[in-house]
Structures are given as structure tokens and as C-alpha cells.
Symmetry: C2
Subunit: 437 residues, 2 copies
């Protein structure tokens, strides 16, 4: 039986899950691939901590170069995370003719272009299924399964921690802080959950999705990003009254030859399949011009799901290796650069429906003043709820608008927030329209 | 640019959708694959009917042999349906060194073993993504994306017509006949919807899924099958009272080294993601030992979704062709036959939870008699609803059981249905337990 030899850099959570899958399902993997996948070396600065998986101590090294410089190693798994060192190791590995599998979303989102060019120059594969959606084979779906389609829209829940927090806020009415504390206690959030909560993690993944959809590497900085730290249970309740829930949504959409790429909390209609994606689950909803609406759902993080994705990439490379080929599918699934350039639509040019919650003094004529400003800025109101007087003498006035332009919205709210009848900064959510799906 | 030449046999709905995708997205497909996919010939007995797509009349022929015998054609698309002729054409095409793409679930379910052997002997690929789940890239997910996993369970909604009918019965309380008539009127059901309703269509797809999960061709006859024609709105209402909905579910599950393969209406917990798969959508829920629970959702039929799947297979073969390889992944994703044999569990050995609706005379002690028989046969009751007297002087007694064995259930119901206090045949549904997912 042919062999493919693997070196692993980074023996943390994902590394341990990967090794566990390779060991536990060794026979199945060999039956499927028709080759033995031999783990030859594991590099980590810490070779002492127990990862809950029995590994021959002779495999362990603290020196990643022992893997990168080993001429017998065919594939390097980069599972250490971080950018600078990982980028350096991956580049050196590719330059020595090794294929690379990585789970590093930040690295691909920030340095994908350069890494893909290096891979092309060196004639090796670089695979990154684990970087988006954990165990969900979403990269493969976009690169191969849906390859016949123009992708018209992607709506995705890409951060399990945020989704867990929003689920608790929605189902139990917890505050953001309470839900975050619970998520920490149950292991759904790290001690420092900043990258989950401020949207960075999901925005990295969205960057990769946009690149895959359009065949041009998209830059992380071009993606609009808002996190979930300002979401209040009050707005979640109002969302429910209007027939929506609140999700941290990654959106990529083709509009008039441009691409919207934005990550922010959004109202999702309760009858949309994404509204039923709860707890720490991830899901990617894709609309293609032929396939129509599709959804891919599963665990977006965790040792074993991520290990599943890493090993699937490894099996893919092994299947190529046996046939003596590489680069059967290029990283972004385009054998040649698409003629059409990637043109990202600036956020202030985006049009969508909106939800506003105004905190106004309880006085006649206030709604008329507010709606006057909106009307002057081409924003028309679809429905309004006005509640009883609040604790501080102000009343929440909440409304959904018809489609409006972000720049008009920003202009209006600037004016409205300076009115003397408005006592707090207006709260804004973008709304995904009811689609009937 | 390299070329790959294609012949299409069967210019019906799926054929037209395939041609439409190849034409409309030609540039995208060429950019992705790096080769031109050239449609060289289309064979159909009917070359007159307008398929809503402009095709050069010189491409058309009534003689499939013109394609099969054309040495310039690399890939044959078999989209004619039916078994005998299709099997003959595919076999001849493979024997002439051509790869085959088919959407023919009945053919793969009934003759997969033989066709896969022929493909292996001839060194060609046979691809069938379109045969299960329409546009959903589920075969690819099982063969590649989740390849690192032992698949522990598959629960799937695989027939759009049935799901549409059940959705209308559930949401609007229609009878089966009313919902079927509506489905016909709106084009969700053919004039003869027998194969959809009696479960044959979904059972074919389940046969293919079981084969993929375990790497051995499963035989259609081995799959247990019940359709939806006996479902009553009354049971759907009771299901709702217990917190369930009714779906036509294809189930493949590993239990004690054996495999359950069954297709029947089942109670699905309302908080399960599958309970939210409505209208004509299909969905495949897969649990792997590493990936955990996943769901793949989309349109399981129709011209364009199925065309999307056929063209994705074609692009896959084209990507191999350019690299000068074939059979990179074998049809069932196993390079060598798994050591473990496929052992299907007979239906009467299956254990699951049950729902019963007894039609009993309204007399004291009836429930005690019924539950006595159940108890003697190792069936314990989880909850009971007893309603008021029905129209014919009988009362429905409905209950959910704890896990019980199918053979015990059949034995009990045989006894109960002969009791003089029981006036109609007892209705039985199998229940998927609440999973919290």
C-alpha cells in the first residue's frame, strides 16, 4: 500500500482532534484512500501537556524545522494558529515541495493571495477546509459541488460562540453579559472571547467565502464588520414581535455587478431556515443560479469537528498523491483568473431594510418629526410599534423600513440623534427581508 | 485550452437543465475547470419538442449509438431515466472508455454493484451526484467532505413531493387527497405520483446513501419501505400535541455492528432542524463520529437544481481529464473493499420509540387492557392522550412508547386489533427521539 507522510505543526486542540481522527479511524481512512497516512512528526513548543491522546514520544519535537526540512514528509499540517510564524512555516514548506493543510482562517483571510501564489509557483496544494465552518465541508461545496453555479448570495452564521450567546438571549431573555458568562462557564467561549464577539473571527471566514465565490482573493480589511456586544434583549424582543430573530450574519451578495461583503447582527425572518440554527451551530446558506437555495449546517468549531475537516483535506491530497497529481482544483476553484474583477461595494452604498429603535420623549408630534427626517432622506416606513413610557420618561419607538440606502440611513440618524426630543442614540439593525424559504 | 467532449442521452427536464447550465455559465465553468466543455451531441427519441433552450439542430439525433460509438466523445451523460435501456447504454459507453454521469437513482439503486464493477474494469468514472438530493452536493459530502468519519446515522427527507404534501397537511390541515391535488396543480407532483407517494423514489435514494456510508452496494430490496398515502391529518395533529411533526424519513443507522435501512413516515421532534425542512425541500442530516451532526439542505428535484449536480460531476471529470487521471475517488469512496461486510438489520429487529393510535370503544378498562398487552410484550408507555368520544362511538387513544422492538410491536398490535373493544386497525408511527439538536 502506498504511503503518504505527514508532519503536524501545532499540537493544540485542533492538532489533537486531527491526530485522534487519524488514529481512531485509521482503517476506514486507509480503505477509503487506498494509502496509509503516516504521521511522522509533531512539532509543538510544549511537548509535555497531555492532549488526551496517546502519541509515541519519539514523534514529538519542539522544532518545526525538523518537519519542514524533512525530505520524506509529503504534507505539512499547520494547526498552530497565529499569523507571522505560521505564514513563514507554510511558505517554507511549500517551497520545499510539500502540500499544506491549514485551519488558520486569519492567515488565509489576511495573506491568502500571497500564499496561493506561492502554492502555484511551487506546484503544491494548499487546503483550508477547516478554516470556515469547522467540520462542515463548505469549501468543498463551493469549489466543487456547486461549481456550476453563479453564486448569487451567501448568508452565514459563522461563529458558534456568538450564536450560542444570541440563542440564550433570545430563548431565555438573558442580557449579553449574562449569556457571555454562561457561554464561558459551559466552554462555548474562551476567557478572552474578543475575536468571537467583535466579529473578527466571522469576518475572517467571510473574507474566505467571498474569495471563493468570486475567484479573487478578497482582503480582510474590505469586509464591513460589526460584532454582537451592543445587542440588547429589548431589540431581540422587538425583533420577535415583528416576526424576526437576531443573528450575527455574514453576507456576501452580488448586486449590480458589485459584491457586498458585510458581517453584522441582522434580523432574520423566523420562517427562514437560518432562524432555526441555534446553540453553537454554524450554517452557510448559499443561493446559486441553478441550484437555488441550499444550506450547510454543523459544528463550526471544536477539536473533533475541526479534526474531521483537516483529515478530509489530507485524504484529498492523498488521493491526488496516489494518482501522481497535484493542484487538481486550485485554492479558489478557478483554474484561470476570472475575467471579471472583484469589485466590492462600499458599505454606505449598500441597500437593505432597516430596523430602528428611537428613544424619544413621550410628547405628541415626535413620531411625525422623526418620520419627516426619514422621508426627506428617501426612507419609507414599513411598520411601527410605539410602546408605553419607559423608565426614564422616554418611549421606545421601533420601526421597520422598506429598502433604503445605508448612506441615507446614516445621514438621517445623525440628524435625528441631535433632535431635542430624542434622548439616546438610535439603535439600528439591518433586516433580511422575508423570503418565504 | 483543452477540451472535453460530451454526449447527452435524454433531452427531458434534467437534460434541458444541464444544457442550460452549460450554456449560461459557459465562461464561469471554463474559468473554473480550465477546459472547454463541448456538448457534441444530444440523443433523444423526440427531437421536436421545444425544451425552452436554443440548441443547434445539428447536435440532435434520435440514435444514442451515435454518441456511444463516437470515439471523440469523452463523457456520456445518461439523463433518460428508466432502467433497461439506460443500463445498456451506460455499460456500452464505459466499455468504450467513456466516463458516465447519470441522474438515474433507480438504476444505481438496482444495478449499482454491476455498473461500479464495469466502471472499475474499464478504468472510467461513473458519477451520480444528481441521483440523491437533486442539487445538494450530498454524494460529494459523503465521499470526500466527511470521509474521515464513521457515519453513525443518516436521517433524510429525500422526496420533495411527499414533503410538500406533508407540509400542506401540517400547516393547513389538508387531507392527503387535498394536499396531493394541490401539489399536482402547482407542479410539485406528476399526474402519476405513485413513486413519490409510495416511497419508492426515496427508498432508491436511501439505497444509494447506505451504499456510500458503508462502502458496499446495498440492494434496493433490502430497504424497508412505507409511503405517505395512509397518513391522516388526525395523526399529524396528535404529533403536534406531543411536540413532533410527521416527515417521510429515510433512516440509515449503525446499531451493534448492523445497519438499519428504513424509509417510512416518522415523528420528528419540533426542535430538530429536520422539522424545519418544509415545502418541496430535501435535507440530509448526517452524524459522523468526528464531525458530529450536520445538515445538507436544498431542492431535491427540478430542472435547474438537478442540472447543477450533473454539471458539477462533469466538471469533476473534466478536472481529472486535464490531469490525465480517472478514478481518483471510487464510486462508493472506497479504494479497497472495507473488511467489514454490510449486514442489514431486518425490520422486525429494529428498536425505536413508537406512536400508536388505538380506536377503542369508550368503556372503562379499555386502556388497561391495551396497556396490559403492551406490557406483556416489553413495550412501556411514555405518555398517553385520551380524547373525547369520536363520531362512531369510538375514542382515539394515542400514546408514545419508550424504545421497543418492532417484532414486539407487531405481535402486540396483532393481539390488540383482535380485541372486541378495538374497532379499527391501530395506527403506528415510528418516533425519532428528542435529541436536543
Amino acid at each position: 500500500m502506498p504511503e503518504i507522510r505527514v508532519g503536524l505543526i501545532g499540537f493544540g486542540t485542533v492538532g489533537a482532534g486531527t491526530v485522534e481522527a487519524l488514529f481512531k479511524n485509521r482503517e476506514l481512512i486507509e480503505d477509503r484512500v487506498g494509502a496509509a497516512i503516516v504521521l511522522k512528526k509533531i512539532a509543538d513548543l510544549d511537548t509535555e501537556t497531555d492532549r488526551g491522546i496517546q502519541v509515541d514520544s519519539t514523534l514529538l519535537t519542539t522544532d518545526a524545522m525538523e518537519i519542514i526540512d524533512d525530505p520524506e514528509i509529503d504534507v505539512v499540517l499547520e494547526l498552530m494558529g497565529g499569523c507571522d510564524k505560521a505564514r513563514e512555516f507554510i511558505t517554507m514548506a511549500m517551497e520545499r515541495g510539500k502540500h499544506v493543510v491549514t485551519a488558520n482562517k486569519a492567515l488565509i483571510a489576511q495573506h491568502g493571495k500571497e500564499l496561493f501564489e506561492t502554492a502555484a509557483r511551487c506546484g503544491v496544494d494548499i487546503a483550508f477546509e477547516a478554516s470556515v465552518g469547522g467540520g462542515i465541508p463548505i469549501i468543498r461545496a463551493m469549489r466543487e459541488g456547486l461549481a456550476a453555479n453563479q453564486i448569487e448570495a451567501v448568508l452565514a452564521i459563522l461563529n458558534g460562540t456568538s450564536n450560542y450567546i444570541l440563542t440564550r438571549m433570545t430563548q431565555e431573555g438573558l442580557s449579553f453579559d449574562e449569556a457571555l458568562a454562561l457561554a464561558r462557564r459551559l466552554g462555548y467561549a474562551e476567557a478572552d472571547a474578543t475575536l468571537d464577539i467583535d466579529g473578527s473571527d466571522a469576518a475572517h471566514k467571510l473574507t474566505i467565502i467571498v474569495s471563493l465565490v468570486f475567484g479573487h482573493p478578497c482582503t480582510y480589511e474590505d469586509v464591513y464588520k460589526e460584532g454582537i456586544d451592543n445587542i440588547s434583549p429589548e431589540d431581540i424582543r422587538f425583533a420577535g414581535e415583528f416576526g424576526y430573530c437576531v443573528k450575527l450574519l455574514a453576507i456576501a451578495r452580488q448586486v449590480d455587478g458589485q459584491i457586498e461583503a458585510r458581517l453584522h447582527p441582522a434580523f432574520v425572518p423566523l420562517d427562514h431556515i437560518l432562524a432555526n440554527v441555534n446553540e453553537a451551530y454554524n450554517a452557510v446558506y448559499i443561493e446559486g443560479d441553478f441550484v437555488g437555495p441550499t444550506l450547510f449546517y454543523g459544528l463550526g468549531a471544536g477539536r473533533r469537528p475541526t479534526g474531521s475537516a483537516v483529515v478530509s483535506d489530507l485524504m484529498d491530497i492523498a488521493r491526488n498523491h496516489i494518482k501522481g497529481i497535484s493542484r487538481r482544483v486550485s485554492p479558489l476553484s478557478f483554474a484561470r483568473s476570472p475575467a471579471r474583477e472583484l469589485s466590492l461595494r462600499p458599505m454606505d452604498q449598500v441597500s437593505t431594510d432597516y430596523y430602528f429603535r428611537f428613544s424619544a420623549v413621550d410628547r405628541p408630534g415626535v413620531l411625525s418629526k422623526i418620520s419627516g427626517v426619514l422621508g426627506e432622506n428617501n426612507i419609507s416606513i414599513a411598520s411601527v410599534i410605539q410602546k408605553k413610557r419607559g423608565a426614564r420618561g422616554s418611549v421606545p419607538v421601533v420601526m421597520l423600513t422598506h429598502e433604503a440606502k445605508e448612506s441615507d440611513v446614516r445621514k438621517s440618524l445623525k440628524i435625528i440623534d441631535q433632535m431635542d426630543v430624542v434622548v439616546e442614540k438610535t439603535v439600528l439593525y439591518r433586516v433580511e427581508r422575508k423570503t418565504g424559504i
